[in-house]
């Protein structure tokens, strides 16, 4: 029994450790843009770890500067969405184990 418990714990620890990396759930961007956007999201979320609004604002503004206007960003732990986006301009990713970031462009 004891061994089982330890194993379970181990698994839990393992999963917790692993589950903080950024995970792209869905994206139709090209690779270059995708990595850049992903890194941006990571920095924004790390910078404003306690304020999702600021993080979203930063993501949106940076994306506007880098890839042209009309970007939208949603940062949160639970929400539903149905959006229309310009193709090749969508990124839906998880980060930090509990954060879902959705950015898209639609002008």
């Amino acid at each position: 029994m004891a061994t089982e418990v330890t194993e379970e714990k181990k698994v839990d620890a393992d999963s917790k450790r692993v589950h903080t990396y950024p995970l792209i759930r869905h994206s139709d961007m090209n690779d270059e843009m995708k990595t850049e956007a992903m890194e941006l999201c990571v920095t924004a979320c790390e910078k404003f770890s306690s304020n999702n609004e600021s993080a979203a604002k930063m993501i949106k503004e940076t994306m506007d500067k880098k890839f042209g206007a009309s970007w939208h960003a949603v940062v949160g732990e639970g929400y539903g969405f149905e959006i229309t986006h310009e193709v090749k301009n969508l990124l839906y990713m998880f980060f930090g184990g509990n954060m879902a970031i959705m950015i898209w462009k639609c002008s």
Partner: protein, 706 residues
Amino acid sequence: MPPKAPVKGKQSISTGADMPRRRTTRIREGDDMTDLGDGTDADDWSQAKTLEKPSDQLQLSEQDLKEEFTRILTANNPHAPQNIVRYSFKEKQYKQTSSVDQLAIHFSLDGNMLHKESDEAKRQKGKLGLAEASSDQAVSEAGEGAGAAEEGEGDKQEAAEERADDAATPAPTDKRKLTNQFNYSERASQTYNNPYRERGTATEPPPRATFAGNVTQWEIYDAYLEDFEKQEKSKEKKTIPGRKEEEKTRKKLTITETQSDDISRVSSASKIVERMVNQNTYDDVAQDFRYWEDVSDDYRDQEGTLLPLWRFSHDKAKKLAVSSLCWNPKYNDLFAASFGSYDFMKQGTGLILFNSLKNPSYPEHVFETDSGVMCLDVHPEHPYQIAAGFYDGSVAVFNVVEKKDGPVHRCTAKNGKHTDPVWQVRWQKDDSDNNMNFYSISSDGRIVHWTIVKNEMIYQDVIKLTIPDASAEGPDGIKVPTLGCGTAFDFHKQKDYLFLVGTEEGKVHVCSKAYTSHFIDSIDAHNMAVYKVAWNYFHSKLYITCSADWNVKIWEMGSKIDKNTDGTESPERKPLFSFDLNNSVGDVAWAPYSSTVFAAVTADGKVYVYDLNVNKYEPICEQMVAQKKKTKLTHIEFNPVHPIIIVGDDRGNVTSLKLSPNLRKVPKEKKGQPPMDASQKQQYELTKLEKILAMVREPTESNAAN
């Protein structure tokens, strides 16, 4: 001022010389004295041409003329008084002024232009009646007065100014031109306006897509878990990359292998479809083949008919004659046909075709050869092995299974090739070493035994068909034995050493593989070339021959030999049966199902079917089969199982015909008795034949006894 003195002296000299003219100018102009000196100088320069010399001119010597006088010009007015004295109110006495005005004015002209801002202009403006200007004018007037007082130079300038004032006053009135209000015309024109045109475009909006989803904590968790598992798996895979690559290469190899002949992948499917199409198009024929029985046979009393079924023809075989036919021993619907030419003058290429009853439109296999194929035989145990004999005397072995266009083996001139057309080949049972072997017979009189050992064919001459009586004389008197021309042979069904040979001279030799030098028996069977000899399927001593001399004959081996052991054997031994078919008989064949039935084809396009059991003298069926007149039928073959025959003609067609019930009478099965097995059937056929033979033999034996 030291330099002044000489100047003065000189001046005085010149003035003295110009005195009379100066006076005139003075009178005329009445000007001040300042003009005097300068004017003289100018006149002096202008009057250089008038060499009028004054009378009192100094006479100067050369020396004096060359003497240089240095004159220095200064800005000082020589006429200006140097001793001006003015009364000084300050000091209450006359004092000499130190500064003397040196200015001399030679010419002055007053213009009538004024600066707008100047006092004078203002004044004039005032005079024009401008109200505001009046005060200005007063000021300027006063200024002028002051200026006039100050001006010590003289009243002349002032007078000029006044004159200018007078001139200036009318000027402004001239400037403003009054238009005549009654004498003018207005003109106007409008430029052409460019027409306007509206143009607009709308860009295509960038493509959009919708995306929807829900974010919940458990979904995020699941996604991470899934991704984590994937990563784990990929790590595992990476640990054994070598094996994976190996697998990949193997897969690739198989893919390339299969891709290399992708047409062959659909070949089986296409073959099935082809057969289905043929089955549909020849549906009625197939139905006839299986089920149609000629009901008229019941009323025709013993006679029968042949129903034409499929006709096999191939474009490449159109101009060739069918030289042999052979059913495949394994597949009852498949037969091989060889094509060549019997015409000595028209030899060309040859052909071997494999046709199936299931696909009458196109052969299953085609082998094209450079020489006409005169015969072929399908190996009874290895039905993919085909032995063929050619017009050029060579023999070859084809393999149907191997995807090869040409023969697997073929003999050449070096290894035992015949020198004349090969008329028949026949496979034998594999020898003791399990090597496949076959025999061939040719017009060159040799019967050759071919053995396939590995990749080569080994040949062995079995017999030479010498003609003992006729031997031609050689050029030097040596007797050269002439060789008979073999045209057909057949091996005994049971005793495999025994075989019959038919020759072009009409003889039939009974030979054994054991004796290479002589024949067991020799019969003058026909008057012309023997085309076919064939043992009966049931009776071990009975054989049939056919010949170009229109005859088909049935012989019994050995019966006469036994008789004539005394050595008085007559060369003309008689056949048991002889049938005259009124034309050259190309081929004859025993029926596999009955001991008494045989069929023959003639050059006039007819097929004859005989049943000795029914009629010993007349055919039970005589039918025209050839499509056109003049088409010769060359070969005939019974299907070993089905009640059909195939007939080849000299135009490359093979026709299949169904035998009507009367032509294939088999013993009726009596009710209550079990069906006969093979041996019983054979026994029955044998007794049936024996019965007939006994009837035929009897008289001959009695004759012989007599």
